[in-house]
């Protein structure tokens, strides 16, 4: 049985600067994997390579055992859906927006959405709780609601792999939790593989099954494993150049990161 996503020996350079080097990892269905690392460590680049927007210098990526370079953009869009940091303003209704997720499935001379397309869009709008907004314009809903619409649109592609690039970075804490809870429940009900770029290490620690920590200095993976394995005071010091104290969240029993500021040390 092949993994949902396998990355082998991947390297990427941009203007002669190594961004990613010797990246190996795989992800299975039902897994929630967070990619973490400092700014410029290539998290977003990695996602763009997996979704075939950027071409790797070397290495292979397989989706369900198929090399993505042999798939057309359209075929790939039936396996992978991507939610970006934010949704660009566009004067269409939420329903029209979500229905765009069915585009990769349109037949050659098909001009209208089928009843099945609409049923799927409604199903995922219901799941993400935005069905009541279906006639509202994307321009007139809040940032959190737009991200929910983007997730509904991605789910409407019925992907095996759902990729999210810092989906919560513009949101307040209520919406951050709401979105991550939703994704974490979806991964079970829909047997999705979730690959998510997160800046907030505590959010990553709470929700992830595994972490991939990228090291910005050489473009390699610093460490990959469970949250307990990856998040240590030593690894954060080495990758982020930042002193932290790691304790256990008394409720979730997950690692929790506390900042150690110069200000506090001086007292």
């Amino acid at each position: 049985m092949s993994h949902t996503l396998t990355i082998e020996n991947l390297s990427f350079r941009y203007h002669k600067k190594t961004i990613l080097k010797d990246i190996y990892f795989s992800a299975d269905s039902g897994e929630f994997i967070s990619i973490i690392g400092p700014n410029g460590s290539g998290k977003t680049t990695l996602i763009k390579i997996i979704s075939k927007i950027n071409k790797p210098e070397k290495g292979n990526i397989y989706i369900k055992g198929k090399d993505i370079q042999t798939l057309s953009n359209r075929q790939l869009a039936k396996h992978i859906a991507v939610v970006m940091q934010s949704v660009e303003p566009v004067a269409m209704s939420v329903e029209e927006y979500v229905l765009l997720g069915r585009l990769p499935f349109f037949k050659k001379y098909q001009f209208f959405e089928t009843a099945k397309d609409i049923a799927l869009a409604h199903k995922y709008m219901e799941l993400t709780g935005i069905l009541k907004l279906k006639d509202a314009s994307i321009n007139n809903i809040s940032g959190g609601e737009r991200q929910l619409a983007a997730i509904a649109r991605a789910l409407t592609q019925e992907p095996q792999l759902l990729i999210l690039d810092e989906p919560t970075s513009h949101l307040d804490i209520t919406h951050q939790i709401q979105i991550l809870e939703l994704i974490s429940s979806l991964k079970k009900t829909l047997a999705l593989t979730v690959l998510i770029v997160l800046h907030d290490l505590n959010l990553a620690a709470e929700y992830s099954d595994r972490l991939v920590l990228l090291n910005g200095k050489n473009g390699k993976i610093y460490k990959t494993g469970t949250c307990e394995q990856v998040l240590s005071e030593k690894s954060i010091q080495e990758v982020y150049n930042t002193k932290v104290s790691i304790q256990q969240n008394s409720v979730s029993k997950r690692p929790c990161i506390f900042l150690i500021t110069q200000n506090a040390l001086n007292k």
């Binding site: 927007i53 953009n73 660009e88 566009v90 004067a91 269409m92 349109f106 609409i118």
Partner: protein, 336 residues
Amino acid sequence: MKQNQLKHWSIILIILMVILILVSLLSLCVGSAGIQLKDIPHILFYGNGSADHSILLGIRLPRIILGLAIGGALSLAGALLQGIFKNPLVEPYTLGISGGASLGVCINILFKFYSKIGIIAYPLSGFLGASLVIFLVYYLNNRTRDIQSNRMLLTGVMISYVASSLVMLLMAISKSDDLQNIVLWIMGSLDEPSPVLIKMAVFGSLAGLVLSYCFCFDLNALLLGEDEAANLGVNTTRTKKYLFILASFLTGLSVSVAGIIMFAGLIVPHFMRMIAGPDHRILLISSFLAGAAFLVLCDVIARIIISPLELPVGVITGIIGGIIFIWALSKKQVTL
């Protein structure tokens, strides 16, 4: 397909068709010959050989047909370009295509190519000038991996300035009867005596409409931005390239047959986006129809306003288009 959306789209199409027919009928009756609408069926069926008959079929009808084709082509080109560039200021002329075409025609008039190879020299020289600009804009931006929209737009604007300066240079050194010719052509007119050119415009614009529909879903995806479109399976580089060439072809065709007609390509797609929404399945055809009706209507106004003389239609589209557009902008926020 949702029922209410289908209904909405059908209503828009029916209304546009009705407007189109009414405007065409109006254009058929208006003119210095003073033919009444009620007489028209009689003249058409029984008046064969009469002066009125040849005015209707020989002068007014070809003019209407040309107006429909050119108006449709310009608005469609505008809708496509605004879709590619995601920039509300883009129109066929922003990319320098008109500048290139007018430069070509000026050179033709100045060097009197038309006296050597006939009337076809006008559209031919316009078309060559337009193609040269398309090629330049494309070549200057093709060395980077992707077509970078803003860079391409800026290149077009710059080439447009250079071309119009060269046109002014040529005008400054030309003799007065050549100057008159150049000025009339630049201002745009639907008065085109050659049936070959009219046929070319009609088939060209209809072919452009059909081809543009091959890309309507790609354009919808591009509304979300290039990366999002790529994630939805669109080959964005290829799509933008084909659409750019298609829009340039439509513009080059219009400019070379009817001269420079400002604004139709900018305001009509905007207006239809406000009314029909951003979905290109309805936007493309409705822009085509509305542009066709708009240009024929402007032509009617150009013909009656100082009758029996007529104004260049480009002047009317510029004035009416600009005023309507400013009014509409103040009423409703325009987003792509």
